[in-house]
Structures are given as C-alpha cells and as structure tokens.
C-alpha cells in the first residue's frame, strides 16, 4: 500500500544532449493501477527504472509514502518489478526463484516455504516448483516472474512490458489475470507498455509520454475521447484519430466544404486541425454537408467490423472509417462522410494542442 509521487523528475544520460526524461510529475494513488504508455524511446521505461531505483535521478524527487527515495538503493525501496525478459535466475529452481527475495528479508525458513507454496498455488505453478526456468514455457516463465513479485508483498509493483514476449492468445488471458490480481491485492501498480490495448483495458489511469515528457494523464476513456494533443490523438486508437485541416468561421468551422456548427474561441479565419475518431464518421447522401468526401481506396473486413479507407485525392491524408461488419461502400466509388459535431475535436494547427470546443445549439 503506497502512494508514489514524482515531482519534476529529469534524466539526462552522460554524454546525451537531450533529456531522456524531462520534468515528469504525477502521483499514483494508493492501490491505483497507473499505465505509462508511449512509443519506444519516449522515456517511460527510464521513468519506471528511476522509480525502481535502478537508474539515478538527474533532478526532481521521487517519494513513496512521503519518503524521499532519491539515492535510496533499489534493495531498500520495497518494490517488486516484473521484467519484459522475466529475468528469472537460470541456475535456480522455480521455488528458489520465488523465494530468493523473501530469504533476504525473512529469516524464518518455514515461513518462506509457506509463502512460496501459497503463491505458487495461486498462480498454478505448484507442479513446477522443482523445475528450472529453461524447462518452462514462455507463459509459465511469465507466471514465475509475476509470482516472484507477489510473494514479496511489496509496497509497489512495477511492470516493464511484461506481456510483450507472450503470444497473442496468452497475452489476452494474462492481461485479464493481471487485472484480477490488481483487484485482489489492491496494490499500487505502475505498468509500462507500448500497447494501447493493455493501457486502455488495465489502467485506472494512463500517462501517455512522448519524447521524455508527459503528453497527457487521465482515465483511459477520457484520454481516448479527449486527447490533449494531436500526438495523443494519433497514438491512441487503432486506427488512429483522423485529422483534417479546417478553419474557424463566424458560425463554427469549415472543414473541406462542410460548415460544422461548433462554437470555438478562435478568431474567424484561423486555421485549426479537426480530429474525428474512425467510428464517429458515418456515410451521408448530402454531399454539400459532408465533412469529408473521397474515393474508397480500400475495404478491410476484420470480422467484427470493417475499415474503409477514403482518399480525397487532393493531397490531404486519407481518412479511415470504422464501419459495421457489412458496409455499403464499394471500392473506387465516391462517398461522403459526416459526423456528430459533439464528436469533433479541435487542435491548434501549429502546436497540435487541443482547443476546448462545445456544440452550438
């Protein structure tokens, strides 16, 4: 049980010109599941490693339960970490792997044995306690890595892309298992991933990072519905949010040829980036009121849904529409797309930062 607070922490590697982590601040509440999400090289793993004490902090402070952790070695922070590579000790059996951290802290051998067996049973590894890691499957190794964290009953759990090495089916079940685990343990967890599905499904909150900085923090659906920048809009969601050029008018917006009744604080005539999620675009007959018109260049039936690629052939980026299983659109035909004005998101054309908007009328 712990509160983890990061206050403007920075990381600069010796010889590096750019900061790997730049003024990152957030607080993870007691029992919260926080996901750090971002593309590779965005600083999310470095941030996690600084919380773990495996990486020094260039500036700023990290506190766990109000205690300043800067300079406290990893071994004294009472945290547990699950690595992408699992990092199981290859020369030890599953039993020894699970008990290795406990033995350090607990002198009572019987208690160590009891805890190890209890955790092994809870993650279905009882029959494998005598095996060494090389004799286990990928999924089993992953569970040992997980068990090694659970058995310690630490203040904070840290996960560094723990599911990336699993195959797709196992990833889905392990994801659910982790969520269940979080609920059962009510522990503070910080989880690093580049997989937005993991972020959306597991996190109480998501912290999206880009180039060492925080791009946005919020509950997954809030971040999805109201991205703070075009970076977040594009990074979250698959396919990503469609971005179009537009301009503010007296009555709202003009996007392509359509007048959209959205109130903005923008001066008439100023350029704006308009974002619409693929699932919010619907085909319309009314060409003059269409947000976007173009030729269908691709239809991708995914089973549950169908993605339709639409290209205006005027140099602007193509648009992707998420439709139901059966779509009326045919390849090469021209279609018109409209959208509920409430679902339109606006971003500054220069900076890409979100502009607050609300529907007229």
């Amino acid at each position: 049980m712990a509160v983890v607070a990061l206050d403007t922490i920075c990381k600069r590697y010796p010889g590096g010109s750019e900061k790997a982590v730049d003024s990152v601040s957030f607080t993870v509440a007691d029992g919260e599941f926080m996901v750090l999400l971002g593309p590779s090289g965005c600083g999310k793993s470095t941030t996690l490693r600084m919380i773990a004490g495996l990486e020094s902090i260039s500036s700023g402070t990290i506190a766990i339960d109000g205690d300043r952790m800067n300079g406290v070695p990893a071994k004294n922070r009472d945290i547990a970490m699950v690595f992408q590579s699992y990092a199981l000790y290859p020369h030890m059996t599953v039993r020894d792997n699970l008990g290795f951290g406990l033995k350090r802290r607990q002198t009572d051998r019987a208690e160590v044995k009891r805890r190890v067996e209890e955790v092994a049973a809870s993650i279905g590894l009882t029959d494998y306690l005598g095996r060494k890691p090389h004799a286990l499957s990928g999924g089993q190794r992953q569970r040992v890595a997980l068990g090694r964290a659970i058995v310690r009953d630490p203040k904070v759990f840290l996960f560094d892309e723990p599911l990336s090495n699993l195959d797709a089916a196992l990833r889905v079940s392990t994801r659910a298992e982790l969520v269940r685990l979080h609920r059962a343990l009510t522990a503070t967890m910080i989880y690093v991933t580049h997989d937005q599905v993991e972020a959306m499904t597991m996190g109480d909150r998501v912290c999206i990072m880009s180039e060492g900085r925080i791009a946005q923090i919020g509950r997954p659906m809030d971040v999805y519905m109201h991205p703070a920048s075009t970076f977040v809009a594009r990074f979250l969601g698959n396919p990503p949010m469609n971005l179009m050029e537009g301009a503010a008018t007296e009555t709202g917006l003009r996007v392509n040829d359509a007048a959209v009744p959205v109130a903005t604080i923008l001066n008439s005539g100023s350029a704006v980036t308009v974002g619409v999620r693929p699932e919010d675009l619907v085909p319309t007959d009314k060409a003059d009121n269409a947000l976007f018109s173009g030729q269908v260049t691709g239809i991708e039936p995914l089973g549950a849904e169908t993605l339709v690629h639409v290209d205006a052939r005027d140099g602007s980026p193509p648009i992707i529409v998420r439709g139901p299983r059966e779509v009326a659109a045919r390849l090469d035909e021209t279609i018109h797309l409209a959208c509920d004005p409430a679902m339109i998101r606006l971003f500054d054309a220069q900076t890409g930062i979100a502009i607050s908007s609300k529907e007229l009328a």
């Binding site: 495996l54 990893a74 547990a80 690595f83 990092a87 199981l88 000790y89 290859p90 020369h91 290795f100």
Partner: protein, 284 residues
C-alpha cells in the same frame, strides 16, 4: 561403375566417406598419442633397456621405478609443491579474475577502457622478457625461492587471459538478471556471488581447467625463481635426472609420467566441460 547393380559387394559412397573419416581419425590419434605412449612405455623401462632399443615394448614392467622416483628422488615433495602452488594460484585467479571480469562487464567507470587495455596488453610480452625483471622484484621482496612468490607470479601471468575469457561471458549475462536481484534486496557483493558466479559457471570452469593445466606444466618461471630442491614443482623434477655427463632417460620418463597423469585425468573427466565453456552460447 555406371552399370553397377545394387549389391552387397559394392560399398555405398556414404560408408566410403565414413570409412575414410575413421581411417583419418585413427591415423591422427596414433600420431598425436604416439609421443605419450612412447613416454609411457619408457617410464616402465630402465635406461639400459632404452639405450639398447628405444622403441621396444616394456617387458618386464619396472613399476618399482615409480616408487623410486617418488621416495628416492623427492617426487613426493615436487608433487605436493605442484598441487599447493597450482591450487592456490588457480583459486586466487578464479576469485580475482571473476571479480575483475564482473566489474569490467557490468559497471561503467572512469578509465575502464584504459585499465582493461593495460591489463590485457601484458599478454603480448613473452615470458622471456619479463622473467628477469620478475626475478629482481622477487629477490627484493624476499619472495625469491619461495612458493608464495611463485604463486603470485602465476596469478599475475594468467590473470589477463582469465579476465578476458570471463569478461566476454559475464558481458553476455542479461542486465535484467542483476536488476531483478537488486530489487529482490541484494547488494552488489552478494549479487556477484549468488548470481554472476553461478550463472557464469561454464566459463569459470573453463578458466579453472585451463589455468590448472597451464600452470601444472609451467617450467620457465619455476626454474628461474625456485632453486631449492624441496620447493621445486613437478616440471623441474627432470633436472634431478640430468647430469653433466649423463641423462637418466628412463627415470626422466618416469618423472614425466607422474607429472602427466593428473593432466590426462583432468582432460578425460572435464574435456566436455572445457569445450562447453569455450563455446557456450547466450545465457537463457
């Protein structure tokens, strides 16, 4: 042979290849084991017998030559000296070499590259270059003609190659393993003993075997730095049978066998380990 019908008379190309290989290996084995067999035969014959016919079979078997070498020619002392010196040197080499290799592989510190270069570059000096200097140093520190001095010299000449072999292996151990141990609550010191060393065991045993064999056979430094008969190691034992006028070839062979047998035993029992360590792949 184009019209040859399948028949047991004809030998298939595969078995022909196999046969050629067997013949080659047999010849090579005979070639390489020849000297060893010859010394083994001579070790059981007297010098007079050898002088009469150097290549004759050993008959009758003079086993008493071994007893005589052991008791009358001080080979018991040589053997004990060799075992002590080699064991001590190898133990120190393994611990210090392991620690140094772990540091070079794991930590980034100032002058790491320079230090590594300085240590490793010493292997370019042939022993003939350093032996006089070492002699001077040992005399100055009162270590000349002492087993402790010899152990220290052995450690210093084998340390670079030991570090080199171990560093390459340690560097391949994934860093996550050490991070995991740190998070599990262990200090850098216990991580070295509980994680790095056990995981690197194949490489460690390679260096142990390699150093044992090399130092067991070492002659040059031993002959220069040890003069007292009671402190000599096995390779110097032959000096016992070499006079100005006469060489007791038969006893030299017996002495050699006493020195060779432990090495052969090490090869027989550990050769697989040795190859394993040399060719060991990534740690999984």
């Amino acid at each position: 042979m184009a019209t040859a019908r399948p028949s047991s008379v004809f030998i298939s190309p595969a078995s022909l290849k196999m046969g050629a290989l067997v013949v080659f290996i047999a010849l090579y084995t005979a070639y390489s084991s020849g000297p060893f067999v010859w010394v083994a035969m001579m070790s059981l014959r007297t010098t007079t017998e050898i002088a009469a016919d150097p290549y004759a079979l050993p008959w009758p078997l003079h086993w008493e030559k071994f007893a005589s070498a052991w008791t009358d020619s001080n080979y018991d002392a040589y053997f004990v000296n060799s075992v002590t010196v080699v064991l001590a040197a190898v133990a120190i080499l393994t611990v210090i070499g392991g620690m140094a290799a772990h540091c070079f592989a794991r930590y980034r510190f100032r002058f790491r590259g320079v230090l590594y270069f300085v240590i490793f570059s010493t292997i370019i000096f042939p022993p003939q270059v350093t032996v006089i200097g070492l002699f001077q140093i040992l005399v100055e520190y009162g270590l000349y003609n002492s087993r402790v001095g010899l152990v220290l010299v052995y450690v210093s000449i084998q340390l670079p190659i030991t570090i080199y072999i171990l560093e390459a292996f340690f560097a391949r151990i994934p860093n996550d393993l050490f991070d995991a141990a740190r998070i599990d609550g262990y200090s850098e010191w216990s991580i070295f003993w509980r994680i790095a060393l056990p995981v690197a065991l194949p490489a460690i045993s390679t260096t142990i075997i390699l150093n044992t064999i090399l130092l067991w056979n070492e002659f040059l430094y031993a002959v220069v730095l040890i003069t007292e008969d009671d402190k000599r190691t096995l390779p110097l034992g032959v000096l016992r049978f070499m006079g100005d006028q006469l060489e007791d070839v038969g006893m030299i062979a017996t002495g050699l066998m006493i020195a060779i047998v432990p090495v052969v035993l090490i090869y027989v029992f550990f050769s697989e380990r040795l190859i394993q360590g040399m060719t060991a792949g990534a740690v999984k």
